[in-house]
């Protein structure tokens, strides 16, 4: 008999996330991967500003809280000073693709040997549903009540496609957490991204399409359907780069 149970890397604390939020699933996957790779004593995380700001309350490993958008820069410093540690960042779309765009692109362009877990829910969650760089065309938010416009706000920023042109990037994959099959694929991708770092291959990033029922103003059931029916069309899943 096998038992599926909560990873020992997850703390016993109930998360502050809203019901149906994809962050909880992503946290669990990161914890499971850390446990399976047996890197609990070597891993150092860097947390963003945004909904996942309290990451250190939930994942039981060393975690540094960074200034908004700066986890890739902080992770660069940690990894260069402590090259034997496994360093990852966990960031939302506001952190990684808006205020932290420069840090993200330059860390990727330098090929820093770090792993980035990027949660894309197409909206600013913590601040109450404003437009994010990843908000899709026509999608309403509190700052685009008529829907994001092609000529006003411009089309969404596609991070995997953007970074795939950089030579030094070792691994890019876009996954989702909106069906059980997607969750299993997401875990495999996160594990591979960590393995790339362990093998010294360089910058790896996994983009996770995630649900935000509260700021999308829908039920958790409809949020899952929105990721499956709408987001996957604009943000196709798949491996965008896997350098040998």
């Amino acid at each position: 008999m096998t038992t599926l149970k909560r990873s020992t890397i997850l703390k016993d604390q109930v998360t502050h996330y809203c019901p149906g939020c994809g962050h909880g699933i992503a946290h669990r996957l990161v914890a499971e991967v850390i446990e399976e790779l047996d890197i609990r004593e070597k891993v150092i995380g860097t947390a963003p500003v945004g909904c996942a700001v309290l990451l250190y309350n939930y994942i039981d490993c060393d975690i540094i809280e960074c200034a908004h958008g700066r986890p890739p820069a902080v992770a660069t410093g940690i990894k260069r000073v402590r090259p034997d540690n496994i360093v990852f960042t966990y960031q939302g779309d506001g952190d990684l693709a808006a205020i932290g765009t420069a840090e993200t692109i330059h860390a990727a362009n330098r090929g820093e040997n770090i792993t980035v877990i990027f949660i894309n829910n197409a909206i600013y969650g913590m601040t109450g549903g404003q437009m994010a760089p990843t908000t899709m065309l026509g999608m309403a938010s509190t700052t685009t009540p008529e829907g994001r416009g092609k000529h006003g706000e411009g089309p969404p920023l596609k991070v995997c496609e953007l970074l795939s042109s950089l030579q030094a990037v070792s691994y890019l994959e876009r996954v989702a957490v909106s069906t059980p099959k997607d969750v299993l694929s997401a875990k495999r991708a996160i594990k591979k991204a960590f393995q790339k770092q362990i093998d010294g291959k360089g910058f790896s990033l996994v983009e996770v399409l995630s649900m935000c029922p509260t700021d999308w103003k829908v039920s958790p059931e409809k949020a899952v359907a929105f990721v499956n029916d709408e987001m996957k069309k604009v943000f196709p899943l798949g491996v965008y780069k896997d350098a040998k």
């Binding site: 096998t2 998360t15 149906g20």
Partner: protein, 76 residues
């Protein structure tokens, strides 16, 4: 076959486990837990097939599943 256990204290009542249970064996409670959320429970205890899809989808790590392997003919 399988056995499912819920951590009522952790459940926020999002219902993702209910949506994805292939046996349609889960539902939300009429009562609320200490945080004011309805919580997941089985329709009929003993009908879980141990697939673990609810465990995979639970954002709050509130579900544990025992997966009993069916004995194959060679094992018997």
């Amino acid at each position: 076959m399988g056995k499912i256990r819920f951590d009522v204290h952790r459940c926020k009542g999002c219902g993702l486990c209910v949506i994805f249970c292939p046996q349609k064996n889960l539902r939300m409670s009429a009562e609320l837990n200490e945080h004011g959320h309805p919580y997941a429970q089985e329709n009929e205890p003993g009908h879980c097939n141990g697939c673990g899809l609810c465990f995979r989808m639970c954002p709050d790590a509130a579900i544990e599943v025992d997966q009993h392997r069916r004995k194959t003919q060679t094992q018997e």
